[in-house]
């Protein structure tokens, strides 16, 4: 409940600031809706850009994938599907 109160207070202060700036005629009246909308659109664009950049830089670790494949086939061939030892081996590999 506290988090949404924080977000709402932030929104209210920002809009109060914007209305105050408009009323004091520091900003021309034609920009009433334009500048907040511009910031919202640019924020969405920035989020999309970060998602795209993260996708491009995501590491696939091909060597670890091969090692993991070997471990899984080894355990499958032993026909002892022991989940605990599998996790222990995975932890050792990842460390």
């Amino acid at each position: 409940m506290k988090h949404i109160v924080k977000i709402l207070t932030l929104l209210v202060t920002l809009s109060a600031l914007w209305v105050g700036l408009l009323q004091a005629s520091i900003i021309p009246k034609s920009y009433t809706w334009l500048l907040p909308l511009y910031f919202i659109v640019s924020l969405g664009c920035y989020g999309l850009l970060m998602v795209g950049v993260g996708l491009m830089q995501f590491p696939t670790c091909p060597q670890e994938a091969i090692l993991l494949q070997q471990v899984c086939t080894k355990f499958h061939s032993l026909t002892i599907v022991d989940h605990d030892s599998c996790f222990v081996v995975l932890d050792i590999l990842l460390l």
Partner: protein, 80 residues
């Protein structure tokens, strides 16, 4: 598989950058250009700079709420 990921990431970033530059140009630079410059041909009238994001935003919010309602109804029907 990582090539497909990188292609999608590149496409997303290109789309976001192009939208950002077009919108910046439209909103911030164009009001300071004289009205008989040829560049005005490539941009819609300024009212659309407000209308189009608002319409898209409203459509997105409607779609999100419909999706949430659909998921809630489906889980309720599964429980009952």
């Amino acid at each position: 598989m990582e090539l497909a990921d990188r292609a999608i990431g590149l496409l997303l970033s290109v789309i976001s950058l192009s939208i950002f530059t077009y919108y910046t140009f439209w909103v911030i630079i164009l009001p300071f250009v004289e009205t008989d410059h040829f560049v005005h041909k490539y941009f819609l009238p300024q009212e659309y700079a407000i209308l189009i994001p608002v319409v898209i935003g409203v459509a997105l919010v409607c779609f999100l709420m419909m999706f949430i309602g659909y998921v809630m109804l489906r889980s309720k029907r599964k429980n009952a």
